[in-house]
Symmetry: none
Subunit: 210 residues, 4 copies
């Protein structure tokens, strides 16, 4: 009876810590964030973090795991969108966080930076990427817009291109001035999304006036 309670409170604490860690990591990066920073942001003591995570490394890994889950949820939402364009819009705006605009972009760029030297994080991140790309490939293969695009590209090629653009836009996002709001960023992303979509899936010039 109290078991699930305990479990959920365990999970809550972990979430609380990871939430705080995300804010800190986005603000200062993994290795300039101290455990003290995280504990402060989470409003708990330093020692308590170690009850839920073996060490700082484990917090980073858990963040990577969490990112994986979020990407999967995003993919699920994309799958349920009524059109390919809307799926892409979900994919390209997933990181646009209302209250802390660059939060996720900064985190993901740091994640890749970390992946370049931490094999465990690299594996996780690669896994996320491949899962997500496979998801988008299927989306394309099944969508009517994905047929006869007249550009000789397979769904796999298209998915790769789309992901390169999405990741590239994330990198560019961290360079945008802090003042730019989440809404502006979102608009920016949607423009690129539509442009890419038109390019990839309406290549015939049939909609020259669109």
């Amino acid at each position: 009876m109290s078991q699930p309670q305990i479990d959920s409170s365990n999970a809550d604490r972990r979430s609380q810590i990871l939430e705080a860690a995300l804010v800190c990591f986005a603000k200062r990066g993994f290795h300039q964030t101290s455990m003290h920073d995280i504990s402060g942001e989470a409003g708990i003591s330093v020692g308590l973090i170690y009850r839920y995570f073996e060490n700082k490394e484990a917090v980073i890994s858990a963040m990577a795991d969490r990112h994986k889950e979020e990407i999967q949820q995003m993919l699920e939402r994309a799958r349920q969108a009524p059109s390919l364009l809307e799926s892409l819009e979900i994919l390209f705006t997933a990181h646009c966080c209302e209250n802390e605009p660059r939060l996720i972009s900064a985190f993901v760029v740091d994640l890749y930076a970390e992946a370049s030297r931490n094999p465990h994080v690299a594996d996780l991140t690669r896994d996320v990427l491949e899962t997500a790309m496979a998801g988008v490939r299927d989306l394309i293969a099944r969508a009517p817009e994905g047929q006869n695009t007249g550009n000789n590209l397979t769904p796999g090629d298209l998915a790769e291109l789309i992901f390169a653009v999405a990741r590239g836009m994330l990198m560019l996002d961290v360079l945008r001035p802090h003042e730019m709001t989440a809404a502006e960023r979102r608009t920016r992303q949607l423009e690129v999304t539509r442009r890419l979509w038109r390019l990839l899936f309406k290549p015939e010039g049939e909609l020259a006036y669109a």
Copy 2:
């Protein structure tokens, strides 16, 4: 009289240090690289670094500066290429370093991560990006292939897309297994380049057999 001598030796020392720093930064990231690491890699003493750079921050800034210059040189080479495709190939393979494959990718991803929280680095990096995008925009505007592409995109739009893909590919590059050689990475990049080029500049299906 000895002034020019000193200046050039000054520049040499700085280069030597920055070269060492690049290797260390790519291997461990900015903030996990100690000044001792750099001095060791450069084969000099720690103290000497402080004769050429005010502090670690300054080394990072100088690295960003250096990156800017390299991008500009790359752009110059791209400008002199005989065709737009070849220009793009230069752009997409610039980071493929023979002896240390992921050297530059890792460094650039770290640079963007740093830019997300260090305003000075952000300014420098944004400047690099804009300069480079402007360069590519001009390249497209002047190239015969850039006319009448039938996709309704301005040279600016195209340049942005190209850069997003290029930056995205850089991110993906750090996830590729260490074992992958520079040649393999290069091949991978060239494939994407051609695919992108065909998409952006040969949209009519006119080269169905290409």
Copy 3:
């Protein structure tokens, strides 16, 4: 009515904790053993230890107390032995614990180390030692073998010598390889005991064939 019950359960808990503490202390030493280690070994929670002991210091003190009691019991057994040699054998093999050979040696050496800087432990340990030496002195004084040994040593001198050897053997015991079994250690101790006994109480060479 329930008071005695509680008392005995109190004593049981204390014993259980001290038993666990002995294992931990022998394995890791006083100050590298955490309260958590002890609680884990005892199969109870950390907090519970504090219901029976004021703090870690108190656990150490109680261990010293316990050691005192064990020495007294050992002395009682020695007193009841039929001959001086057998008394000595009891004295010299008291620490040979079947299942965990070095358990007691390691603990006692640590106890003396602790005594060298913790006045309370020092007092307790000194008390143990003096009581034990007095006991052995009496044993010698009463034993027929203790008379006319021809070596001009008083029972007090002999007891001191015997104790120095016993304590010294304990120190040597912690250096013996882990693989050495309790039986082997016991044999080793008995050899030394007999040798010492012959030296102290059969000095005439009368038993050249013994």
Copy 4:
């Protein structure tokens, strides 16, 4: 020319640190001595210790090494003594340090405690012990007093007994009150030494009046 200078200054620093460590270790024990304690006692900064020792463990190991050397020097002095009795006196008073009476006793007891759980220290300490025992065995074998002792004990047996007593006296030494001076401790040790010597090497009763 300056090389030996540098080397010797290196060795000096190490010695200085080890000297400070000995004081701290004797006062508080290995694991209750903080690196800060040592640096304070040595009059240097904490960080500097790490230029000379990889970590705290290494300081402890170096102390064990140092102890080994000191025992060897003591053995050398014992070897040059004119008589076996004087050799034994050197052996039994080696730890009597003028200014800090219990310094060495406390350290050695701690060393054995550490040896009981740190294999590296155990190896070193066992090595010291065996070397020293072998030295004493040879001393006995060569000394005229060592012949025909009439007690049927081999030089090896005698050396073992002597060492057990010596180690045991060390343990007892840490229990003596702080107020006891080095001179008093020395006297105490010499008494036991003579008593032991008489017992082992004058067994015939020939000196009944000595």
